[in-house]
């Protein structure tokens, strides 16, 4: 079947089987390999993309279901070579290690902050509960998302929440 939709602002067409998931369509048919597939059963969140402004799991969506819709993937977040404020915050806070869950973290957080720029640390943790990360322990991810809120019109300042605080000690040096 042929399916047409927009990805990161560009109109695309792909020939797919009905059983082709959106994640497979993006990765194999459209060569957008930034969207990662971590479980294929809707638990890990690595494959999260934004469909018409809403974060969805692309492994639980068939390509044929997004006919006519507008999709944003991780490749659509940066401004050319320039990291977006959210991406830059991830880098500042070391909110990624292996980087495999990162595209899903970014798309989810981007959708969240676009809708809720003042999301609290608890709200961010709740929303990110559908995205598994095995490296960071989440602390730095939450700090980064808090820090990025200002760029979406939310509160300035980053981790002034006792909640997410962590220290890199210096006194021992």
């Amino acid at each position: 079947m042929e399916v047409s939709f927009k990805v990161n602002g560009n109109a695309v067409k792909a020939q797919v089987e009905p059983r082709t998931t959106l994640s497979l369509c993006l990765r194999d048919h459209l060569k957008l390999t930034g969207t990662h597939v971590g479980c294929e059963h809707g638990v890990c969140g690595a494959c999260t993309v934004i469909v018409d402004g809403e974060a969805v799991r692309s492994c639980l969506t068939l390509a044929v279901q997004v006919e006519g819709r507008s999709i944003t993937t991780v490749e659509g977040l940066a401004h050319g070579d320039e990291l977006s404020p959210l991406q830059a915050a991830f880098r500042r806070h070391n909110a990624l290690q292996c980087g495999f869950c990162t595209p899903g973290m970014l798309t989810t957080a981007h959708a969240l902050l676009t809708e809720e720029p003042d999301a609290s640390a608890d709200r961010i943790r709740e929303v990110l509960s559908g995205n598994l990360c095995r490296c960071t322990g989440y602390v730095s991810i939450v700090e980064a998302v808090l820090d990025a809120r200002a760029a979406y019109g939310g509160p300035a300042g980053d981790t002034a929440h006792g909640h997410a605080a962590a220290a890199t000690g210096g006194a021992g040096r």
Binding site: V43, E75, T168
Partner: protein, 785 residues
């Protein structure tokens, strides 16, 4: 101080400031954040086909026949490969997976065949490979393969394994592969002299590493030149290249293993798995590139599992709380095969039961038992997380039984700087290249314990111990740890000045997601005195160096970094010699300033100019047979709802002395991330098999990883009080400490919270259901008493 970003340098600004010790932002992030990483599944080659594995759905059976006729006739199917094709001729055996670490001769009969030839030993073992145009078509064909199986009784736990009623391997007389013994001093005498002996039985559950990127292999066969290129390599590409080449009957030089971006290892990814042979074999068989990407269910079935063990151990105390000795027995359920590094956990358990304490007498046996479960291997903090929990629980219980303060008992027994070098118990048997002896390099374990108490405000929080507030029982707990790092024997590095004046550095260490390009880039830039932006760091792939060892045992920073320092010294000498000719001075007069060489008379030559005339290439190496020993302590404050078994982690602090922190931003990530993995093992994670050896946790909805809301309050303090004397950087491997100590801290905190019930948690995980049951049992026991 919670925001590390005040101190972050833009990657290009070196100035006079060294990079080492700075929270430099990661080089890797620029591609990974934009979705431009290149993981195994991102490799797409012309004409590439897709492989799917037919895996056993039973744990123990004889394979009497396999019929792939129908599958071979299905649309899009190019080949179905079984043991017959791999063996090549009737009567010949398929290759077996080599032993990498602790390759003891006694384990030879237990090695894993790369594909089932006659006997299935665990759910998930490969029976056939289908190669087809798409993965979906390959999976369609799996359903058409017919099997003739004779089911055998499953050996589903170490106890039935040890009875040897059903032997899992022909030609053996026991399912016990080997027994490791740790020994130091005279344990019998120590226990005879004890004022108090604390004995407990502990159980730790089977866990899975669950890297977010599942394993994957893409093999490209070049028929014209008889060459294989294998993508998806990680951790130890050189070892795996050699193993794969041997099995394929090819010289190492005809096979390359290429390392791309890697979605986590945690000790498990990058070991030699059967697919590292099967996929290259399939590519050569069909004469095309073949991709295999593990799905999550396969990953849970086949990636090395770890930790499952039971132990009966005891600790002897003098009346003043001095620990006189530890002894006991452990039984480790290794699953079906030893694979490449399955011996590390059973060996570490006896080796490190003494943990950070000055315990003169040690005598522990640890039995390796094979069963019909997924093969075990290393998972971050192998054996250490288990044994530290045993040790710290015994101290806590022993101190209380004697009416002593457990904190004081720890103080009395912790190894201090005056005790260095502290010798750990020796372990036998040991493979020829490892002596079985080990000694700590430097440190003061009591000092970091005190630091942890102070930072945590132990004294202040003590008032909460056992208190019930709003229906929750509050408790605090503490534990200490050491982590070995920097395994030898060697690591290699190479530095090149290319024609365009750029400096390229190749290192045998591999990146498994830990930020290696940044941390080693910092070391290299400082060693060379150039900005990081002037340097390209390439790592891992077999195309870069003649030999490399990779990343395991928290070794890459120390071993790779030290090899880089050696290479950098030689590179600077070569630069001086080359520049001297053009600057018309003696090499020793040449001053290197950034990417420029200067003469005493003020003439200068940029690297770029020099490169027009000269190519410079130097090799560096670092050899080391001693390990580094980072160490620390952690404390936790929990609040337990005894009616539901639900535990809130109110506060958690880990302190680690790493000798020298190359990049505190990255190190903090290792500590916090490692802690959450340890907490996952303490509270959530469990690979469950039933009595038939059937795996019940085949999805991520069943195998529960920690999620963002679970453990929000985590703190890490990094100290650099005792640099390692055995490497030029002073750094100590530090990737596992957070994971090692977490279960010990948690069991102690929960026991203290529920002290009024006399609760004694000695098995993991502490799920709400289990914790509630323990409280119920304790209540009932008290009622009858």
């Amino acid at each position: 101080m919670n925001a590390p970003d005040t101190d972050i340098l833009p990657e290009s600004a070196a100035g006079d400031t060294p990079y080492i010790g700075r929270p430099v932002q990661r080089v890797e992030d620029l591609r990974l954040l934009r979705g431009l990483g290149r993981y195994a599944d991102d490799v797409a080659l012309p004409g590439m086909l897709h492989a799917a594995m037919l895996r056993s759905s039973v744990a123990h059976a004889r394979l009497r026949g396999i019929d792939a006729t129908a599958a071979r006739a299905m649309p899009g199917v190019h080949a179905v490969i079984t043991a017959a094709e791999i063996a090549g001729a009737p009567g010949r055996s398929v290759p077996t997976v080599p032993l990498r670490l602790q390759p003891l001769p006694c384990l030879e009969p237990y090695r894993q065949p790369v594909i089932v030839q006659d006997r299935i030993r665990h759910v998930g073992e490969v029976l056939a490979i289908v190669v087809a145009d798409t993965l979906a078509l390959a999976e369609d064909a799996l359903e058409a393969i017919e099997l003739d199986l004779e089911t055998l009784p499953a050996v589903a736990d170490w106890r039935s394994s040890s009875e040897d009623r059903t032997l899992l391997f022909d030609g053996t007389t026991t399912n016990c592969g080997v027994t490791f013994t740790a020994k130091r001093g005279d344990a019998a005498a120590a226990f005879a002299a004890a004022a108090h002996v604390q004995r407990e039985r502990f159980m730790v559950q089977r866990q899975a590493p669950v890297t977010m990127e599942a394993r994957g292999v893409v093999a490209d066969w070049d028929a014209a030149n008889g060459r294989l290129v294998v993508y998806g390599a990680a951790k130890v590409p050189f070892f795996n290249r050699h193993a794969s080449a041997q099995m394929l009957g090819m010289p190492d030089s005809a096979v390359d293993f290429i390392e791309g971006d890697t979605g986590g290892s945690f000790g498990a990814r990058g070991e030699f798995y059967v697919e590292d042979f099967l996929v290259p074999f399939a590519a050569r068989h069909v004469g095309r590139a073949v991709k295999w990407i593990s799905d999550r269910r396969e990953d849970l079935m086949t990636m090395a599992q770890s930790r499952e063990c039971e132990a009966e151990v005891e600790m002897a105390f003098a009346a003043d709380g001095t620990i006189l000795g530890v002894r006991g027995t452990a039984w480790c359920d290794l699953g079906a095969y030893p694979r490449t590094n399955g011996m590390i956990q059973p060996r570490n358990i006896p080796h490190f039961l003494s943990n950070t304490y000055r315990i003169e007498a040690v005598q522990i046996d640890s039995h390796v038992q094979f069963t019909n479960k997924g093969p075990a291997g290393t998972y971050r903090a192998p054996g250490r997380a288990e044994t530290v929990m045993f040790c710290e629980r015994l101290i806590e219980l022993g101190a209380k039984a004697m009416g002593l303060d457990p904190v004081e008992v720890r103080r009395r027994n912790l190894v201090t700087a005056a005790d260095m070098p502290w010798h750990f118990a020796s372990v036998s048997p040991s493979a020829p290249e490892s002596s079985g002896l080990s000694e700590a390099d430097s440190g003061d374990y009591r000092a970091s314990f005190e630091r942890c108490l102070a930072e945590f405000d132990w004294q202040g929080k003590l008032a909460l111990q056992g208190k019930v507030i709003d229906g929750r029982h509050h408790g605090i707990g503490i534990a200490c740890f050491i982590e070995g790092g920097a395994a030898g024997p060697r690591e290699n590095a190479k530095i090149e000045l290319a024609r365009d004046g750029s400096v390229t550095l190749y290192v045998g260490s591999t990146s498994v997601g830990q930020g290696l390009e940044t941390s080693l880039g910092q070391i290299a830039a400082d060693a060379l005195g150039i900005p990081m932006s002037a340097l390209t760091l390439l790592h891992g792939s077999t195309t870069y160096l003649h030999e490399g060892f990779g990343s395991y045992h928290s070794r890459s920073t120390v071993m790779g970094g030290s090899a880089i320092i050696d290479a950098a010294g030689k590179f600077k000498q070569a630069l001086r010699e080359a520049a001297a000719t053009y600057l018309e001075c003696l090499p020793e007069q040449v001053v290197l300033a950034g990417t420029e060489a200067r003469s005493p008379r003020g003439r200068s030559l940029s690297f770029a100019e020099l490169a027009k005339h000269e190519t410079i290439q130097v090799d560096g190496t670092f050899s080391n047979h001693h390990h580094t020993w980072a160490y620390g302590a952690a404390a936790a404050h929990v609040a337990v709802d005894a009616r539901t078994g639900h535990v809130s982690l109110v506060d958690y602090l880990v302190v680690e002395d790493v000798g020298r922190a190359i990049n505190p931003l990255l190190l903090r990530g290792q500590l916090i991330g490692g802690t959450v993995q340890g907490l996952g093992g303490a509270f959530l994670e469990e690979m469950v098999y039933d009595t038939e050896g059937q795996m019940l946790t085949g999805t991520l909805a069943d195998y529960l990883l920690p999620t963002a809301p679970d453990f929000p309050r985590l703190r890490a303090v990094i100290t650099e009080d005792y640099p390692s004397p055995i490497n030029p950087i002073g750094a100590k491997g530090a990737g596992e400490g957070g994971t090692i100590v977490a279960p010990a801290v948690i069991v102690n905190a929960i026991a203290n919270a529920l002290g009024e019930y006399g609760l004694n948690p000695t098995s993991l995980p502490l799920s709400p259901s289990r914790l509630w049951q323990m409280v119920e049992d304790a209540r009932r026991a008290r009622a009858t008493a």
